[in-house]
């Protein structure tokens, strides 16, 4: 057997280190990271722990726009191979979006950039410092150089990509920021191709603060595969145009309509992707929220789904414009480099203001249901003009600024809409997705313990199973008992109760870490339940268990290393725990996590269930205990860190605990 981390297959073998302040570029070996962290999000967490210095100022966190912040763009051993959805790329840094403190987090994006980076000879790029003037990084088959980007600064993300492709090679793949990133909008994206974005964590603004406009990469090399025949047969067997198991997969019609892919090597039929055609005959791809915003059929108002009422909180329905208008807004957002998700919270909040008779904020008129106003508003966000300058801080921070100026219930509504540490509500069972008990409880534990909206990477690992409950509660319960026994070792894992859900939450998080490190897409992996041919197929089945070993077999075929499931879980736990330690370093603790409780006191939109503050605290007790974290701060205990091979992390956390107590 090949020793872990020494395989010639899978990994490119090198990491590119770019210091923008000094204008220097260096390289280092990937192997030491691959051994303990595989790649992607795990590798990036190790680099962040070792290299983003903690603030020298005791009790203060380092700012996301500090030149010492580091952006890591990382691929994994499956990137660039035939492994379906392996084309994804991970980006991490201290985020300007997290609230109320700055901490380290991650975003992932699909597309073709990660594979091209590997074909150019690199597994990852780490960027530190700050350039004197706008630059872009050009990577060409093992060589990298920084180039003047003064002619690109100010361009939108699409034009930037096209210009660099024209300059370097039409086949180059480009990551770029738009005006929103340049102007330090806290939810600015790093864009790629038409629709791919590292969107949620505001990394576009981190690029902007470093004056990094783009990275263009061209590679003519390859990724070596240890067992080509095995990989080919694995993909043929499992990968070809199977509808991803849940999330609308029961809808027979529409499942096989023509859909775009969002990452290289994705051979799945993914129901969160769609094409729409513009009036002038262009085909526009949309993925996830982008697809959702475009999904206007007839007079259907998709944005109406934002309506929620319960527990004294009312979120108004948003307003969908026509298809052409929505495509224009969506493309505009991508080109400006804004997170598309802003629409789902900002439009309803502005509508709520209007409903309260407020038609101006700080003297700026608001008309959120007028498409021309909204289009102008998006530009104002990106350029930080007028009202846009205030809301470019994110709804959550803007509420702190507007407190006292607007009625208290509107301020509270804004805070609720971005309740998750500054991230828009998502799969939490209230404002957005229909998530009955116990799924929102699993979400709640993940929200409390992670650095960002955590549910975005755990669609398949548990949360999309909620769809089956909504279809047929009793059938789903019967089927889930079998799935639960096989997956988590006990039948009650998905029973609609509040008890004993930590094992599912932790498993989902570990799987999320693993698929972000290989990487794969969370809409397709892990395959907790098998794909269904149609509704009848699902209804006629008792055992709907999927194949949870596809990832392991593909990893073996690519790298030649026969990891056991236990080894992979250990790697995922190590990486996740390291991320938790990074949160501890930034000052996150149980006290802050308890502040999420009020959101879960609102009744669930589909079944009315809720949890009070004491109950929420009980969820934290259960979760922290299951993770081996202490109950006071929610930080990993010494013994857990030692078992995971992180004694140096234990030393630092011990020191920080002592400081914490002396405050």
């Amino acid at each position: 057997m090949t020793l872990i981390g020494t395989s010639q297959h899978g990994w490119a073998g090198k990491i590119l280190l770019v210091d923008l302040t000094a204008g220097e570029i260096n390289q280092r070996q990937t192997a030491p990271y691959a051994k303990d962290y595989l790649g992607g999000r795990g590798l990036a967490a190790r680099i962040a722990w070792d290299e983003i210095p903690a603030s020298a100022d005791r009790g203060k966190t380092r700012d996301a726009f500090d030149p010492e912040n580091r952006i890591t763009i990382a691929t994994g051993p499956l990137t660039g191979t035939l492994s379906p959805t392996g084309g994804r790329t991970i980006m991490t840094a201290l985020s300007p979006r997290t609230y109320p403190l700055t901490w380290y987090t991650h975003s992932t994006l699909g597309g073709w950039f990660g594979p091209e980076l590997k074909y150019a000879g690199f597994d990852a790029v780490v960027i530190s410092g700050k350039a004197d003037a706008p630059v872009y990084l050009e990577i060409m088959d093992g060589e990298a150089r920084l180039k003047d980007a003064s002619d690109l600064w100010g361009l939108d993300t699409n034009r930037t990509q096209l210009r660099l492709k024209e300059r370097l090679d039409p086949k180059a793949q480009v990551l770029a920021i738009g005006p929103a990133g340049e102007n330090l909008v806290r939810f600015a994206t790093v864009q790629h191709a038409e629709e791919n974005a590292a969107g949620h964590s505001g990394f576009g603004a981190v690029w902007g603060s470093k004056r990094l406009k783009a990275i263009a990469v061209r590679g003519t090399g390859s990724v070596s595969v240890a067992y080509p025949v095995d990989l080919l047969s694995e993909v043929t067997r499992y990968g070809v145009f199977k509808t991803v198991p849940v999330g609308g997969a029961l809808e027979g019609s529409g499942a096989h309509q023509r859909r775009p892919v969002c990452s290289q090597a994705c051979t799945f039929n993914c129901l969160v992707s769609s094409y729409e055609e513009t009036a002038d005959g262009r085909l526009v791809p949309g993925q996830c929220v982008g697809s959702y915003l475009m999904a206007i059929r007839g007079n259907q108002n998709q944005m109406r789904a934002t309506y929620y009422k319960g527990g004294g909180v009312e979120v108004p329905a948003g307003r969908s414009f026509g298809l052409c208008e929505e495509i224009t807004l969506k493309e505009g957002c991508n080109q400006l480099g804004l997170d598309l998700w802003h629409r789902l919270v900002m439009q309803p909040w502005l509508v709520a203001c209007q409903q309260r008779g407020i038609h101006k904020i700080r003297g700026f008129p608001i008309a959120p249901t007028d498409v021309f106003w909204y289009e102008a508003f998006q530009r104002q966000l990106a350029y930080r003009q007028g009202l846009g300058d205030l809301l470019a801080e994110g709804l959550r921070r803007a509420m702190d600024t507007l407190e006292g100026e607007l009625p208290a219930d509107l301020i509270d509504l804004g805070r609720q809409l971005e309740f998750g540490f500054g991230f828009p509500a998502h799969r939490e069972g209230r404002f957005w997705d229909e998530e009955p008990l116990p799924f929102w409880v699993i979400s709640a534990m993940m929200y409390a313990s992670e650095s960002r909206d955590p549910t975005i990477g755990t669609h398949q690992s548990s949360l999309l199973l909620a769809d089956l409950v909504l279809e047929d509660r009793e059938l789903a319960r019967r089927q889930f008992r079998i799935v639960s026994r096989k997956t988590w070792g006990y039948e009650e894992a998905l029973e609609p109760t509040f008890e004993n859900k930590a094992p599912v939450a932790i498993w989902s998080q570990n799987m999320h870490m693993l698929i972000d490190s290989l990487p794969l897409c969370d809409f397709a992996f892990p395959q907790v339940v098998r794909p269904f041919k149609n509704r009848t197929d699902w209804q006629a089945s008792e055992d709907i268990s999927g194949d949870l070993e596809i990832d392991r077999r593909m990893l073996r075929a690519v790298t030649g290393i026969d990891y056991s499931r236990e080894e992979l879980t250990r790697i995922a736990e190590r990486s996740f725990t390291l991320e938790r330690a990074l949160l501890a370093r930034a000052g996150r603790s149980r006290k802050l996590e308890e502040t999420l409780a009020p959101h879960f006191q609102l009744p669930c939109r589909v079944d009315g269930t809720l949890i009070d503050a004491r109950g929420f605290s009980g969820l934290l007790d259960e979760y922290y205990t299951a993770r081996g974290w202490d109950l006071e701060l929610g930080w990993p205990k010494d013994e857990v860190l030692k078992v995971l091979g992180l004694p140096e992390v234990a030393t630092e956390l011990r020191q920080r605990r002592a400081e914490w107590k002396s405050f």
């Binding site: 660039g80 191979t81 035939l82 379906p84 084309g87 073709w112 594979p115 074909y119 699409n158 990509q161 096209l162 492709k165 039409p170 086949k171 191709a193 038409e194 003519t220 090399g221 390859s222 990724v223 070596s224 595969v225 080509p228 990989l231 080919l232 993909v235 043929t236 990968g239 070809v240 145009f241 023509r258 859909r259 775009p260 892919v261 290289q264 090597a265 994705c266 051979t267 799945f268 039929n269 262009r282 085909l283 526009v284 791809p285």
Partner: protein, 142 residues
Amino acid sequence: MLDARHILIEADLCRDCQACTLACSLFHHGECSLELARLRVNKDLAQHKVEINLCRQCDYPDCIAACPNAALRYDEHGRVRLFEEECLQCGACAGACRFHAIFYNANLGMYLKCDLCAGRPGGPACTELCPVGALTLIMEEG
């Protein structure tokens, strides 16, 4: 006996997942690469249009006519093949192909052309994997 004769290309259905090129390079070279493949899928980002360059198994192949060393010829199954060991690397075939479906790989120093996965029991890997029917294997009496 039925024999594989050509691959029908419907580029309008393609969504640029590159499973075909990756499977091609994996079968022929044991590596995943867009440059080692015997076909190319190119997306025009400005137009969101995809172009696929792949051998059409022409009835009157320009490549065969152009080759000065007869390294391009029909095999026993009637497939137009490039016999790489006989190739003089002059590039005449690539220049002659109106479908731009013969590729020079500088890393290997050789020309690459689709051989319909000669020797693969299941037939061409690309048509087996293409999830959207942009590449379809057309069988004819051989």
